[in-house]
C-alpha cells in the first residue's frame, strides 16, 4: 500500500486525440467524482475541427476538471495532474502546468510519427525537456499495456487500441482511491449488446487500476476528503441542459405549450438536440428553421398563437435576429431569445468562449427598442435565469434576451436540482373576454403590461403590427405626440420590470469595502476565487455579480457608490463597464482578458492587487 497524501482540491486534465475517447474518460471520472460527494467544476474543450488530422495540435481534445473538499468555482488555471495521450496533447497544454504538476504520459504517443505531427520534431524528446518544469513525469506505455491486457480478447487490434482510455481511467481511479463499480455498470449498459467490446473495456479499466497498485511507478497516491455540500439531491449539469430544462419547466408551470424555433449553431445546438428528444413527452414543438430569421419569426408566430415561444442561437445568428426582435418589441409579445455567446467578431472562433454580445443585446436594434437582458453566472444558474426570463416574458409581455456563453454551455457542476412543485408560479396575461366586447390591445395594467388575446377567442379579433400604434387602441398612428408617448410607455414598461427582479446582493465580502469586483456571466467563478483569496488575506474587497443587466436592479447604483473603487473584469473589450459608467456616473475601471477562455484567476488577482 502506497503512502497517502491528503489534498484539499485537485485540478486534473485528460488530453489526447479527438479519437482517443477523452471526453468519455473525463465524464466518467467527473460523474464518479460527483457521486463521491466532492464539489467540482468541469470544462471540456473540443478541437475546432470535427476530426482534425490525428496527432496534430489542432486535433487535441481536452477535458479539465477541478474537484475538492472545499467549494470549487472554476475549472482551475494550472493542472495538478495532466494526462497526455500523445505529444500534441502535451504541446497544447504546456501553458497549464507548473513545478507542482504531475504529468502522466502514454509513451507510445511520443514515437517519431507523433513527434513529427505534433510539431515538436523528432530531434527532441519533450518528455525529457519538460521534466525540470514540472514535479514529476510518469511515462506509461498505455498502448502496449492495454494490448497485453487484452491478449485473450477476441476483438480486433483497432478495437483493443480503443480501450486505452479505460486503462488510463482505471489508473487515475486508483490514484484517487475510487472504486470502479459505477463505470463498470456504465460500460455494461453502453455495450449491453456487444459482449466482447464490453468485457475488453472492463478488463482494461481493471488492469489500469491494478497497474496503479502493483507498479513501482507511483510513490504515493492521493486522497481528497468529501466536500460539505448543502444537504439535498444533486446531479451534474451543463448550461445547455439547464437552459433546456428550465424552458420545459416554465412551459409546464405556465400551462402553455413550449415552442423552440432555432437554426443549428455552435455552441447553442445542444439545446436543440436536448429538446428534440423530449418532443413526445411534453407539449413541445421543436422547429429547425431554414435560418435564424425564420427561427425567430416562427417563434413570433407561435407566440401570437399562445405558446411560450423561444429561440436560441449564438453571435452571428443573434445579429440576424435584430430586425425581428424589434417587431416582437413593437407587438409586445412574449418571447425568449437565448444567445450562447462565442468568440467574435464575425465567425470568429466558434469553439472558444467570450462575452462580447452584451452591448448588442442591450442596444443593437433600430429605433428605440428596449428589452430585458439577463445573464446566468454558472452552468446550474442557467436554469434559474432561464426560468426567470420565461416568467418575465410571459408576465410582462416582452421579449427577453438571455446571454449564456460557450463556457457555461459545456461546463458542468453539481446541481441541487429542484422539483417542479417548488418553482415560482407563472401568471401569463391571457384573457378570453372583455366588457362589451370592445378589445383594446394596447390598454395597459398598473405595470404598463398589455393583455394577451389568442386567435380563436370569440369577439376579440384584433390586428397587431410593426407600424407605430395609437396608444390604447393599437390602431396605426403617425401622430408625433402619440409616437413620443408610445416610446415613453415601452421604455417605462421595461424599466418597471426592475421592481420584479431581486435587489442586487453582494456575493462575497462586505459593503463599503475598498474595491468591488463587479462581474456578469461566466466570469463568476474566476472572480469568486480571487475574492476568496484576497478576503483570506484580509483585503478589503467584495464580489458583486450582476445577473439582471437590463434593467439593472433598482439598488445597484447606490450599492456600487459605497465602494471606493469598482473594477469590472470581462471577457470582452469593456461592455458592462460602459453601462455602469453611463448609468450611474461611477468611474468604474475595466479589466479585459479576451483569450477564448475563462479569465485566468491569477492574472485577475494580480490586477486587483495593483489597486490595494
Amino acid at each position: 500500500m502506497k503512502e497517502e497524501i491528503i489534498r484539499e482540491k485537485v485540478v486534473i486534465k485528460f488530453a489526447g486525440d479527438s479519437g482517443d475517447g477523452i471526453q468519455l474518460t473525463g465524464t466518467q471520472f467527473a460523474n464518479n467524482t460527483a457521486l463521491h460527494g466532492y464539489d467540482l467544476v468541469t470544462f471540456p474543450d473540443f478541437p475546432a475541427e470535427i476530426r482534425a488530422p490525428q496527432g496534430t495540435v489542432a486535433g487535441v481534445s481536452g477535458y479539465q476538471m477541478h474537484f475538492g473538499s472545499v467549494e470549487i468555482d472554476t475549472p482551475g488555471d494550472i493542472c495538478d495532474v495532466l494526462v497526455v495521450m500523445n505529444a500534441a496533447a502535451l504541446k497544447n497544454n504546456v501553458r497549464y502546468i507548473n513545478k507542482h504538476t504531475i504529468i502522466i504520459a502514454d509513451s507510445s504517443g511520443f514515437d517519431s510519427k507523433n513527434l513529427k505531427l505534433s510539431g515538436y520534431g523528432i530531434e527532441v524528446n519533450p518528455l525529457v525537456d519538460i521534466k525540470e518544469k514540472v514535479k514529476e513525469v510518469f511515462e506509461v506505455d498505455v498502448t502496449k499495456l492495454t494490448s497485453i491486457a487484452l491478449e485473450q480478447s477476441p476483438i480486433d487490434a483497432k478495437d483493443k487500441d480503443r480501450c486505452k482510455n479505460m486503462f488510463i481511467l482505471g489508473l487515475i481511479f486508483w490514484l484517487y482511491e475510487r472504486d470502479l463499480d459505477d463505470t463498470i455498470k456504465y460500460l455494461q449498459d453502453k455495450f449491453a449488446k456487444k459482449e466482447a467490446i464490453r468485457e475488453a473495456n472492463i478488463l482494461a479499466l481493471q488492469k489500469g487500476f491494478h497497474y496503479g497498485e502493483i507498479t513501482e511507478l507511483f510513490h504515493h497516491h492521493y486522497k481528497v476528503n468529501q466536500a460539505k455540500l448543502l444537504k439535498g439531491n444533486y446531479r451534474s449539469i451543463n448550461g445547455n441542459e439547464a437552459v433546456s430544462m428550465a424552458l420545459i419547466c416554465a412551459s409546464v408551470k405556465a400551462k402553455l405549450p413550449l415552442y423552440y424555433g432555432t437554426y443549428p449553431i455552435t455552441p447553442a445546438s445542444d439545446i436543440l438536440h436536448f429538446l428534440a428528444k423530449k418532443e413526445n413527452d411534453f407539449a413541445l414543438k421543436v422547429f429547425q428553421a431554414e435560418d435564424e430569421i425564420a427561427a425567430i419569426s416562427s417563434a413570433i408566430g407561435a407566440s401570437f398563437g399562445g405558446s411560450l415561444a423561444v429561440c436560441g442561437t449564438s453571435g452571428p445568428g443573434m445579429a440576424l435576429k435584430t430586425e425581428a426582435i424589434g417587431l416582437a418589441i413593437s407587438m409586445e409579445l412574449p418571447l425568449v431569445v437565448i444567445d450562447v455567446q462565442r468568440a467574435g467578431p464575425s465567425t470568429g472562433m466558434p469553439t472558444k468562449t467570450e462575452q462580447a454580445d452584451l452591448l448588442q443585446a442591450v442596444y443593437g436594434r433600430n429605433g428605440e427598442a428596449p428589452l430585458p437582458v439577463f445573464a446566468p453566472a454558472t452552468p446550474a444558474d442557467c436554469f434559474d435565469m432561464t426560468y426567470a426570463a420565461c416568467k418575465i416574458a410571459l408576465e410582462h409581455m416582452t421579449p427577453v434576451i438571455i446571454l449564456s456563453d460557450l463556457f457555461l454551455a459545456n461546463g458542468t457542476e453539481p446541481w441541487l436540482y429542484p422539483s417542479i412543485e417548488n418553482l415560482k408560479p407563472i401568471q401569463h396575461k391571457i384573457i378570453t373576454e372583455v366588457i362589451d366586447n370592445t378589445y383594446l390591445p394596447y390598454q395597459r395594467d398598473e405595470n404598463l403590461v398589455r393583455s394577451w388575446v389568442l386567435p380563436g377567442t370569440k369577439n376579440l379579433e384584433h390586428r397587431l403590427g410593426g407600424l407605430e400604434k395609437q396608444d390604447v387602441t393599437g390602431n396605426v398612428s403617425y401622430d408625433g405626440e402619440n409616437h413620443q408617448e408610445m416610446i415613453r410607455l415601452r421604455a417605462a414598461k421595461i424599466q418597471k420590470i426592475a421592481d420584479f427582479i431581486p435587489l442586487q446582493e453582494i456575493d462575497l465580502g462586505m459593503e463599503e469595502a475598498d474595491i468591488a469586483i463587479v462581474g456578469w456571466g461566466s466570469t463568476y467563478g474566476s472572480i469568486r476565487t480571487v475574492t476568496k483569496d484576497l478576503l483570506a488575506k484580509n483585503k478589503s474587497v467584495a464580489h458583486i455579480h450582476i445577473k439582471y443587466l437590463f434593467p439593472f436592479p433598482s439598488n445597484l447604483g447606490t450599492l456600487l457608490k459605497k465602494f471606493k473603487k469598482v473594477i469590472v473584469p470581462e471577457i470582452n473589450n469593456g461592455q458592462l463597464v460602459k453601462l455602469i459608467r453611463q448609468e450611474y456616473f461611477i468611474d468604474a475601471i475595466a479589466f479585459n482578458q479576451i483569450k477564448g477562455q475563462p479569465i485566468n484567476s491569477s492574472d485577475l488577482k494580480l490586477e486587483i492587487e495593483k489597486y490595494l
Binding site: N31, L35, G37, L229, G232, N233, Y234, R235, S236, M245, I248, C249, V252, K255, L256, P257, Y259, K278, D281, F282, A283, L284, K285, F287, A289, E290, I293, A294, S297, S298, A299, I300, G301, A302, F304, G305, G306, S307, E323, A324, G326, L327, M331, Y417, P418, S419, I420, E421, P455, G456, K458, E461, H462, R463, L464, G465, G466, L467, N475, V476
Partner: protein, 330 residues
C-alpha cells in the same frame, strides 16, 4: 349562444379601419372576394388569421375583421409557419406581394412550400414595388422601365409557378384581381387543400405599373392570351373558344378547332399530374397563352403535428427529467 348559429356575411369581415390603398387599386377587388369567400367556409370568424409582411398588399389584414398580423418585410411565411405548427386549429392566410414573397422573402416561401404546412398563400403580384413607390420587382417583365431601372431591367423575372413547383409545392394556382368569380373559386379550392396552397393573383398597380396585365384583362385581346384550365376539361381558348392545346409527345401545340373539329385528342387538364403542371407553368415562355386556374393540386405530406397541451402526469415526467440518470444525495 345564438351568436354561434348566426350566419356570417362579407360585412362581418370588414374592419373599422379606413382603407388606405390608392383609389382604383387592384387590391380592393381581392379584398372584396376574400371577404365574400371566408364566410362561406363554415369556420368561426375568430379562427381565421391573416398574416402579412410589408407592402401595399400586406396592409390587407388591417381591413379584415379577423385576427391578423402585419409583420416585417418578407417574413410573413415564416411567422405563419410557427403559428400554424402550434395552432393547427386555425385557418391561416398569408397575404403577400411579389417583393415581399419573392424578393426578400423568397427563402421562407420555398421552405414553406417544401414543408407543405397547411396554410394558404395569396401572392398579390403587381410586378412592382408599390409601397416604396415604383421600383422593379423579381417578377417585373424584362426591360421594364422603373424608378430603379431607368434603362429597363436586365434580369429575367421569376416564373412564379415554375418556382413554386420546383420548390415542391402541392397546390399551385393563378387568378387575377379582375376575375371576381374565378378568384372566389380558386380561394375556396386553396382553402380545401390540405398543405401549403400557393395562389398567385395578378393585381394591377395603376400608379406604378399600370396595364401590366392588360393583355390578360383587356376585352379586345384577352381571349387569345389567357387559358382557364378546368379539371377534366380540354385546354381551350381563343376569341370564340376556337383554339385548343394538344400534346405532341411532351410538346404542347395549338390546334385550330374550326379546322380540326375532333376534340378527343386535346390535352385534358389533370391537376394531379406534376409533369403536365410543369409544362403548363412554362406556357408563357413557349409563346402559348397564360394559364389561369388550379395548375397543380396533390395531397402531400402533412406536417402539422397537433401538440395540444397534454397535462397528464406531466409533473412526474418533468421531475424525472430534472433528476436525470445519475443523481445523488448529500
Amino acid at each position: 349562444m345564438e351568436e354561434l348559429n348566426k350566419i356570417l356575411t362579407a360585412k362581418d369581415f370588414e374592419s373599422n379601419q379606413d382603407i388606405r390603398w390608392c383609389p382604383g387599386c387592384g387590391d380592393f377587388a381581392i379584398l372584396k372576394q376574400l371577404q365574400m369567400v371566408l364566410p362561406q367556409l363554415g369556420i368561426p370568424k375568430e379562427n381565421f388569421v391573416m398574416v402579412s409582411g410589408i407592402g401595399c398588399s400586406s396592409r390587407l389584414p388591417y381591413y379584415m375583421n379577423t385576427y391578423g398580423m402585419h409583420t416585417i418585410h418578407g417574413r410573413a411565411t415564416a411567422i405563419a409557419s410557427g403559428l400554424k405548427l402550434t395552432r393547427p386549429d386555425l385557418s391561416v392566410w398569408i397575404i403577400t406581394g411579389d417583393g415581399d414573397a419573392l424578393s426578400i422573402g423568397g427563402n421562407h416561401l420555398i421552405h414553406l412550400l417544401r414543408r407543405n404546412i397547411d396554410v394558404n398563400i395569396l401572392l398579390f403580384n403587381n410586378q412592382i414595388y408599390g409601397l416604396t413607390k415604383g421600383q422593379f420587382s423579381p417578377t417585373s417583365e424584362l426591360h421594364l422601365h422603373t424608378k430603379s431601372s431607368p434603362n429597363g431591367t436586365q434580369d429575367a423575372p421569376f416564373r412564379t409557378l415554375s418556382l413554386a413547383l420546383g420548390a415542391g409545392a402541392t397546390f399551385v394556382a393563378r387568378s387575377m384581381d379582375r376575375e371576381a368569380k374565378h378568384l372566389q373559386e380558386v380561394l375556396k379550392k386553396a382553402h380545401a387543400h390540405t398543405g401549403s396552397s400557393f395562389v398567385e393573383i395578378y393585381q394591377n398597380c395603376h400608379i406604378f405599373n399600370d396595364g401590366a396585365f392588360d393583355k390578360f384583362s383587356d376585352r379586345k385581346v384577352r381571349k387569345n392570351n389567357v387559358l382557364f384550365v378546368e379539371e377534366n376539361e380540354p385546354l381551350i381558348f381563343g376569341e370564340q373558344n376556337n383554339l385548343g392545346i394538344k400534346l405532341d409527345g411532351y410538346k404542347p401545340e395549338i390546334v385550330d378547332l374550326s379546322i380540326h373539329t375532333d376534340r378527343s385528342q386535346l390535352w385534358i387538364h389533370d391537376s394531379t399530374d406534376k409533369i403536365k403542371a410543369q409544362i403548363l407553368s412554362n406556357f408563357s415562355e413557349m409563346g402559348l397563352p397564360e394559364i389561369f386556374g388550379i395548375i397543380y393540386s396533390k395531397e402531400g405530406l402533412n406536417t402539422n403535428h397537433n401538440k395540444l397541451h397534454n397535462a397528464d402526469n406531466e409533473h412526474i415526467k418533468v421531475n424525472k427529467l430534472l433528476q436525470g440518470a445519475n443523481s445523488w444525495s448529500v
